[in-house]
């Protein structure tokens, strides 16, 4: 077990026609010994390439990767002491489960057959697959194959685990179970882990910290709640959280934000944070929007809305709203309300954008100017 460090890691692919594509751009992140880091981003953001560079399956164009203080850029995969779990599981189809698990030990250690089979048996027992050791992968269910793939990684007792979307081929229910189990397993083993996923729910629930990547560039590294509440920029704010944060493009007019739909007064702190910026993006999470079907838009933070669509999810409803003022050119945004509340498409409601819940981003640089304040206990609790 060891710490894993990425320092300015860059990957440039050269296409056949000579075009250069920067897949990973100057990514630096320190992963502590035993830490579970989730690398998350949309598809094509470079997260898998980053993982493959750590594994030694791709060369590193620039920068340094080190494991336990040792530079591993040039080491072949076999010498890196890393185990990887693949999206397709990549089990050897002609070998039994036991043979799949012992292959790595046979190839990279000098343990004798008895020692290997003891390690394999113990690991299989730990993974709850001891009944399956004599079966071939084709005879296993997806969930069982997943366990074998994990077992194959664990049995080698590596310095680090790399996991490339390991749960994405499972059905939703099994995925939720395996999420918890994987987390527990990683805590027990205490092995440094990088976990790649495109699913922000997995990122939020599993990681000690998450690293968000977009277009090859690292956007933010932090605990899930840091990324949720204090996103560095508009991309992180929009990517983390489901349904996504709502964004409104606004002009700064003194201490107010103005658009052709509505006007929003800023607090003194917020106005300070905006400073000289001319254009600002106002962000607010759907769950922070208050909905009152009967009230009147009395305060400057309250607006008359028209309910466009109601998507029931059982525990809560996602409602799509448009401003009454702009019905001819509707721009919808979303709010979540309790599943018990009765709302219909076509209703008129009043929506509140609480000043403490808004985020402000510079419209040009997309960097965060102001994040929501967290000193309101019930708001934080509700989200946690």
């Amino acid at each position: 077990m060891a710490e894993l460090t990425l320092d300015g890691v860059t990957k440039v692919f050269t296409e056949d026609d000579g075009n250069e594509i920067v897949a990973v751009d100057d990514v630096s992140v320190d992963i502590e010994d035993g830490e579970f880091l989730v690398l998350v981003g949309p598809s094509g953001c470079g997260k898998s390439t980053t993982l493959r560079m750590v594994a030694g399956l791709e060369t590193v164009t620039d920068g340094e990767i080190s494991l336990a203080g040792r530079r591993i850029n040039e080491s072949p995969p076999a010498e890196r002491d890393i185990a990887m779990v693949f999206q397709s599981y990549a089990l050897y189809p002609h070998m039994t489960v036991a043979q799949n698990m012992s292959f790595g030990l046979e190839e990279s250690t000098e343990l004798d057959d008895d020692e290997i089979s003891e390690l394999v048996d113990d690991t299989a027992a730990m993974m709850g697959i001891e009944e399956l050791v004599d079966r071939k992968p084709a005879d296993l269910s997806g969930g069982q194959q997943q366990r074998v793939a994990l077992g194959r990684a664990i049995v080698r007792d590596p310095e680090a685990f790399l996991m490339d979307e390991p749960l994405s081929n499972l059905d939703a229910k099994l995925r939720a179970t395996m999420r918890t189990e994987l987390q527990r397993l990683q805590e027990d083993l205490g092995v440094t882990t990088i976990y790649v996923t495109h699913d922000q729910t997995e990122a939020m629930t599993m990681g000690d910290r998450i690293a968000i990547l977009d277009d090859g560039v690292l956007q933010q590294v932090g605990t899930p709640l840091e990324c949720y509440h204090t996103p560095n920029n508009r991309f992180v704010a929009g990517f983390i959280g489901d349904p996504s944060m709502n964004f409104f493009e606004m002009e700064v007019d003194g201490e107010r934000l103005v658009s052709d739909r509505f006007t929003y007064p800023l607090t003194a702190d917020q106005a300070d944070a905006v400073g000289e910026a001319r254009g600002v993006t106002l962000g607010i999470r759907p769950e922070d929007i208050g909905i009152d079907p009967d009230g009147n838009a009395d305060s400057p933070h309250e607006f008359d809305m028209h309910v466009d669509v109601v998507e029931p999810r059982g525990d809560e409803n996602t409602i799509h709203l448009t401003f009454e003022a702009g019905l001819d050119e509707p721009e919808t945004f979303t709010a979540t309300v309790s599943g018990l509340r009765q709302l219909q498409a076509g209703d008129s409601v009043v929506a509140t954008f609480p000043p403490e819940a808004i985020h402000l981003f510079d419209a040009d640089t997309e960097q965060a100017l102001h994040n929501r304040s967290l000193d309101i206990p019930e708001a934080t609790e509700q989200i946690v």
């Binding site: 030694g56 399956l57 995969p77 693949f86 397709s88 990549a90 189809p93 190839e107």
Partner: protein, 307 residues
């Protein structure tokens, strides 16, 4: 696609749709077209040459029950075995190693050019593929020069002739084995490459991370997964090499090392005319190994030719 049961509005004949009746008639008719030359050959091959009249070549010899069909005799087959015996032995000596070598080397080449991916391999691979389509005429004269005038294979082989089962003329078969191995490589590589492209990249990467070297990946992962493809390749190569005449004609030329296709060309022709029963028996005998392979492993053969 139509289904087994007639569709609404179709004409019917005795409960079957007319459409199906026509369909099956054509299919059976075509089956007769493909089988009749072989059937005629089989029937003729068991006629006593002395009683052969040629009036009903497609009927079995049923004299005296049916006049003009000839009497049953295995004499033609005996003659075929006598006439082709040496050629059959030589063909076996040629085909077995040439098939195995071209299959194995083809699998190795496909592995090095597919499973392990590197820049520029496609250029090398194109040279392999193009080799499939080369008309052999384009290399015959150099091959003859090479085996007869450049490589002293005959001289190397002469001392070995004292060993049991080794004859001096076997050097020609060795030359033929090497030649067939080289010319079988392109198609074998193509077949294996198509198979290896379907194998998961992640599986090979997993093996790399497990500490397997390139040769271990081949030996412990790829080779065991190639067994079905080896069956296809071996069957295809066996048929191709067994059936070849041109290379044998230009490299063996004549003499004791002649293979079965060479011997078959001249059999059954004499001053007194053509002995059709003998000729048909010989043709069937020469075709028997490939026919048996085809009948027992037809699906694999079809897979090979369709690739």
């Amino acid at each position: 696609m139509s289904t087994e049961t007639g569709r609404v509005g179709e004409w019917s004949l005795f409960g079957h749709s007319l459409r199906r009746v026509v369909l099956y008639s054509i299919l059976v008719g075509m089956g007769v077209f493909y089988l009749i030359p072989i059937e005629t050959g089989i029937m003729t091959s068991i006629i006593n040459p002395a009683s052969y009249t040629g009036s009903f070549p497609y009927l079995p010899p049923l004299e005296p029950l049916v006049p003009g069909t000839g009497t049953l005799s295995l004499e033609p087959w005996q003659g075929a075995i006598d006439g082709l015996g040496q050629g059959l032995v030589n063909s076996v000596i040629l085909v077995v190693p040439a098939t195995i070598f071209s299959g194995l080397l083809g699998s190795m080449a496909a592995f090095g050019l597919t499973t392990i991916s590197w820049r520029g391999q496609i250029g090398i691979y194109i040279l392999f593929v193009a080799g499939i389509f080369i008309p052999y005429q384009a290399v015959l004269v150099p091959l003859t020069q090479f085996w007869y005038n450049v490589v002293p294979l005959q001289a190397v082989f002469a001392p070995l002739a004292t060993l049991p089962f080794v004859q001096e003329y076997h050097w020609k078969l060795v030359a033929l084995i090497i030649t067939h191995t080289a010319y079988g490589l392109p198609i074998c590589t193509l077949l294996f490459r198509a198979h290896y492209k379907k194998l998961s990249d992640e599986m090979v990467e997993a093996a790399q991370l497990d500490g397997a070297s390139v040769s271990t990946i081949y030996r412990r992962i790829i080779l065991p997964l190639s067994i079905p493809m080896f069956a296809v390749v071996f069957i295809y190569q066996f048929t191709q090499i067994w059936n070849d005449l041109l290379f044998a004609l230009t490299i063996v030329q004549f003499g004791d090392a002649a293979v079965v296709t060479q011997d078959l060309v001249g059999i059954g022709v004499s001053q007194s005319g053509t002995n059709f029963p003998l000729r048909m028996a010989a043709a069937l005998l020469a075709a028997l190994p490939t026919l048996l392979v085809y009948i027992f492993f037809g699906d694999k053969f079809a897979k090979g030719v369709a690739a």
